[in-house]
Amino acid sequence: MKEIKRVWAGSWPSDRITLGIILVVWGTITARWLVQPGLAVYWGQHLAILMVFVGCVAALVRYEGADWVIWARGLLIINTMFVLYYTLGFVAFDVIPWLGDPYVLAWEKMLFGRSMSVWIEPYTDSFFWVEFFAFVYGAFIPFVYLSLFFSFVGRSKEERVVLITGFSVLYALSFLGYLFVPAKGPIVYQAGAYLGEIEGGFFHSLVLASIESAGGPHGAFPSLHVGATFFYCFFDLRYNFLRGLTYLPFGILIAVATLVMRYHYAIDAVVGIILAMVAIWAGQKLSREVLA
């Protein structure tokens, strides 16, 4: 008990937030397992994630002060979140007994008066625009990895702590949406509402292949594509102004691309931007404890 208290006291807010979201996922699976059989694999997977994470945090707390700890913590949080991102794509739909799409679409119609993804179709229904937005959508992946790299390497400790904390807040809040509002997006739920299939070329097929490899469309609400892009933009606006300014239009294009590619509702993008703002604010607030 004394050891647990010591680790808890020495852990960073990003550790606690990540631990919190793992516990929420694992706790939800446990609760559902009581009434729904066949969830043992998920339960075991997430218990393993939980134990590995707690073990790593205990090690980080033990070696706190060493130069490598900040790097190791960054890798731990980022990898844990990426693993959860993958597993939630399956867990949410198998564990949660409702589908989030009707609710998200209802919120969308309340806010915009229509489904924005269906509305935008006639304006972007050409090979050029599909390829252009598929390229933008796909460019998100290198952008995220480059941003993570540039946000970590060559930075001060303060900046790294703010980044890790904000990152954990953004992903944890998004995963709550993924888990409790499991939505597949308009490409599945509103498939019949469009005038036709999207027809693109190389970049479009690249996007389709990457979505399929991740288990098909899932995790529509909120949009982490938009949320993460704006998170890095807001972070850079504070710590590397020109880069933030350069990528801000890219964030807007990503938001439009999610609609054109039919993977998200407009409300997903709006909530993604709000979460990015919350994450940056919380990142700065919570990291004060560590920096003090």
């Binding site: 480059l146 540039f150 060559g154 590397n240 020109l242 350069t246 239009p249």
Partner: protein, 343 residues
């Protein structure tokens, strides 16, 4: 207005020095009275610095007398700009003590606050020495951070100036020797095209590779926006510069208002022409992107210049490591000598 002030500093201020920032009241309404070198810029800087509800007036404004009577907290604030020929300025802010008296007292305090700017201006070399002292003989910070990290250069310049006056009277020979040595050092760096901070540039290949990657990514990704910004602003900007440049010095001094007037007119003409060419949706998009790309272009080309200068310094030192060692040793010796003299 605070966000506008923040944006102004980020875009147009290369370096910001604030002396006496702790004097700015945190409660109650405040009247800021500036010396009004550039009233609009002063206002934007004040809007960023203000911690509470405020009103702003320049010392030349007719309303000053009337406003002074209304406020119990009046802050005289001297603001001076260097490098006005360039798009990005260096701004020095000196905050005076809070007064609550009559107009004369405000003017007296403001004159006192601004006196050092006038004096320091006469000793241009002091600023250069202050930038050398600000390096503390350590490696330079990453590019693009100058605007958000308030730099100690202004404080150092003032300390140098006051110290210089004291020591010049007490130890004229020593001071003359240092001045000559600094002059030689400055001339050597100017000949090589190296700024004081980059004398201490580390020559590690790993760091250089990271620098190259970071700058390459930024410059490639920013190029389309910056070029668009340049193309769409070059005509009003060039036209204004031509018109303002021909006016007498007194008018050029107030170039901002002239720029806004003439430049504004040229912008309107350009917008009307574009409006005739583009369909409504694209025209609205053009109008939204127009100022954004212009501001980005200012920062972008400034960054290109800094990145180029740093790369060139790196290559020069890689091939002349002995020259760097000699320059570093001399720089550190000068820094030590100045601090030793102060003690």
């Amino acid at each position: 207005m605070r966000w506008l002030g923040w944006l102004f500093i980020k875009i147009f201020v290369r370096e910001l020095g604030v002396v006496g920032g702790e004097r700015i009241p945190r409660q109650g309404k405040v009247l800021f009275v500036s010396n009004g070198e550039q009233a609009l810029f002063d206002y934007l800087l004040v809007s960023w610095l203000a911690e509470t509800a405020y009103e702003f007036v320049t010392v030349d404004d007719d309303a000053l007398g009337m406003l002074v009577g209304k406020y119990e907290q009046i802050v005289p604030i001297g603001i001076h700009y260097w490098g006005r020929r360039r798009l990005r300025l260096t701004a020095g802010v000196r905050v005076g003590r809070v007064v609550s008296g009559d107009e004369e007292e405000v003017r007296r305090e403001l004159a006192e606050v601004c006196r050092l700017f006038v004096d320091v201006e006469q000793f241009e070399g002091l600023q250069w020495v202050a930038t050398l002292l600000a390096t503390a003989g350590a490696a330079p910070s990453a590019l693009g951070r100058e605007a958000y990290e308030p730099r100690p250069t202004l404080q150092l310049t003032e300390r140098l100036y006051l110290g210089y006056l004291r020591k010049r009277a007490a130890e004229p020979k020593v001071v003359a020797e240092i001045v000559a040595r600094v002059g030689r050092y400055q001339a050597e760096l100017a000949r090589l095209g190296i700024v004081p901070a980059e004398v201490f540039l580390p020559l590690r290949w790993g760091q250089a590779a990271f620098f190259a990657l970071r700058e390459f990514e930024l410059l490639v990704m920013g190029l389309p926006w910056a070029l668009w910004g340049w193309v769409n602003h070059v005509l009003p900007f060039w036209g204004t510069r031509q018109l303002v440049g021909r006016r007498e010095a007194a008018v050029r001094q107030k170039s901002l208002s002239t720029f806004l007037l003439v430049g504004g007119l040229l912008y309107v003409i350009q917008a009307v022409v574009i409006g005739f060419i583009l369909p409504t949706f694209w025209f609205v998009l053009y109008l939204l992107v127009w100022p954004y790309c212009g501001l980005l272009a200012i920062l972008y080309f400034d960054r290109v210049g800094s990145a180029w200068r740093r790369s060139r310094t790196f290559w020069y030192f890689r091939q002349n490591s002995e020259a760097q060692e000699a320059l570093m040793a001399e720089g550190r010796a000068i820094i030590e000598m100045i601090y030793a003299l102060e003690e």
